[in-house]
Structures are given as C-alpha cells and as structure tokens.
Point group: C2
DNA sequence: GCCACCATGTAATCGGTTACATGATTAA
DNA sequence: TTAATCATGTAACCGATTACATGGTGGC
C-alpha cells in the first residue's frame, strides 16, 4: 500500500521534517550533514519535490521573498505517515561503499612497495581531510544544524563519523609503518 | 594521453592481473573479495571486456571447455601500463558511501526511543552479518584467493574490513546501551 | 532426470551527476 | 559594480542493476 520512497525522496522528507522548507534549503542541509553518506543534487531534488507533491506526501505554497520566486514545501499527514513508516522499517536498506583507494590497496601486490605505501598515505590524508570538515561542523551540531533546537541524532551521527574516520586514520598510520622498508616488491 | 579507465574497467584489469581469465571468473573473484567496496555486474563486465579489447588494453582468445563457449582475456602491454598508471595515480578517486540505516539514525529524533534503538540494533546486526561473511573468506585469503599464491594485499584488505566492521559493531553496542531507557521521545 | 554450476550475453530501466541557464537580492 | 548568495530548473549523459534468455557440463 504505502508508496515506496525513492532514495532522494527519503532525505527530502527527513529534511522537511527537520525544518527545511525549500529545495535550496534541503540541498544546503544535505551538504552540511548527510552528504558523506547520503547525497542529493538539484537535478534530483526539484523534480522529486514535484513528484512527491503530486503523490500527496507534500504540500507546496508560493512564498516569494521580494522578487525572488520561492516555493515552500511541508509534509502532509500522509507524508508524515510515510516518513515514519520508512524510519521504522524492518530491513537494512541500501548499504553501498565505493572506495577507489581501497581497491588500489587491494591490488597493491602489482606495484612497488613505495606505490602501495603511497595509497595508504592517501587513505590517511583523506580521513584527515574529512575529519577537518567534520570538526568544522561540530560546534553547530549541538544546537541543531537547521536553526531548530533539540536535535540529538544529527549530533550523534557526527560523532559516529568522527569515530569512524579516526579509526581509519589510525589503521592507515599503523599500516604505513608496517609497510615501511619491508623489502617486498 | 592514457585512456581513463571506467569504474568497472578498473576492477577488470586488476582481476585479470591477479589471474582471472574469463568474465565469469572476474565476477566470481569480485563476489569473494571486493564486492563490499567495489561491485561489478555481468551487465557491465561483458560489454566492458569487449570495449577494453577494442581499445587495445586486453587480448581475447577462444578457449572452449568441451562444448562450452568460453573466452579468455589477458592484459596487453598497454593494458598493464594503464593498470600500473592507475594504481600509482595521485588523487583520491571515487569515495562514496550510501548508508540507509545511518540516514535513518540521523533522523532518529522524529521517532520513538524504541524505534531509534532498533535502527542501531540493525546497524550492529548488519556489521555482524558482514563479519561472518569476512570470516568465511579468511582461511583462503592467506593463500591467495584466486589459486595464485603470494597475494598479500587482498589479505590485508580483508583485515581492514574486519577491523572496520568490528569498530562499527562496537559503536552500535555502546550506542544501544546509551540509548537504553533514557526517557527521550 | 534434475539441479547446481559454468558461461555469455542483452534490453529496460533507474538513479544520479554535470553542465548549463535564468534571474533576483544583498553586502562590499 | 560586482561578487556572493538565494532560488529554481532542465537536458545530456553515465554507470549500474535487474530481469531475462540461452545453452553446455557434471554429479546425484
């Protein structure tokens, strides 16, 4: 019975529930929060907003600011129902990882010890770069990232991300060391 | 100058270098090794094998087994060059994660404490399930997963995967506990 | 005889990014 | 005045999965 949400539809409903109102705000919210594990582009967001409106999960209203065309969306009762149903779903859902550095590491036997170590260094640098991005977000995350106080789980999610990236950086440091100057090609 | 490898092209060259010979064997190899961070389907593999052959990176030869049509591929000198160039590349390349349970966790403020805890439990169960798959692969991984001995990095990659999943499972256990019976909606 | 496995392939569809286009407002 | 930001959108393209189709071989 209940409509199956598209991947981008899922993050749209969630962000609207958190207080985002326009497609632009949804995109902004994604960029400062879920983008490392659930991205969304305008090319998906705007058509999907109209699709969800057509399906009765959202209501749209014109809300121009000065001369700027602007459309605000909010969840209908049905939209809220579908969102909650998805959030209480019983299965794992999508879990995909695509990691080119890890693939190159996997094929490390084909290259020199130096090249292999360089891949691990890149993995560490990448984790560290992401950690910096995360730490920039940390202060705001306690207060609620969307000007609506009392959000607890976005903050916990950020802590998860930080912990995960720290684990990877630690693994990379150890592996760089263990690969250091061992004479294997 | 050097051709840019498509995503599936990358894993094809790598698997051929590791000893896979046919499209079928490449797919098998992917399923028991890289599938959690770099998948490939027949719908991509077979057309891409022909494309790479046309581009001069692979050489194909008929190698039927009894009455079974069968095509063996191997890297040409150019194919090897392109593979090595990719493996020594200086940038991060693709790094994508799509994690629906984490997205649901992120939106956890919208549901009951029980529902939120259920999401974390699912994350733990998922890690544990993946860990089981990894541990089934562990014995073979020391010897080389493709009947060609002396592969070191596939084994290290598996250790990475195990460590990562253990970290996530640990995080989930702690988080389940910290969410336990705290009276927040 | 049947099932599991080996082996190759295609067509439809999907979800997504990228690049582009338009235009208003605000702060330097 | 000009750059950054707010705001919405589309078209081309890409990479991938899914479902389907075909057919041989080997073991129970």
């Amino acid at each position: 019975m209940s409509i199956t949400l598209t991947p981008t539809g899922r993050v749209i409903l969630g962000m609207l529930q958190l207080g985002a109102k326009t497609g632009y705000e949804i995109k902004q919210a994604v960029e400062v929060s879920t983008r490392f594990f659930w991205g969304a582009s305008y090319g998906q967001i705007y058509p999907e907003l109209r699709r969800l409106t057509g399906a009765g999960l959202l209501a749209a209203s014109d809300a121009p600011r000065g001369g700027v065309r602007r459309t605000e969306y909010h969840l209908t009762a049905e939209g809220e129902r579908v969102l909650k149903a998805w959030l209480s779903d019983d299965d794992f859902g999508i879990f995909e990882i695509r990691d080119e550095l890890l693939l190159r590491f996997f094929f490390g036997d084909a290259v020199s010890s130096d090249d292999a170590r360089a891949v691990v260094r890149k993995m560490r640098e990448r984790s560290e770069w992401i950690l910096e991005r995360f730490r920039e977000l940390e202060p705001g995350s306690r207060e609620g990232f969307i000007e609506d106080a009392g959000e607890r789980f976005p903050h916990l999610t950020l802590q998860y991300g930080i912990g995960l990236m720290e684990w990877i950086a630690g693994w990379a440091r150890e592996t760089e060391r263990s690969l250091d100057g061992d004479g294997l090609s």
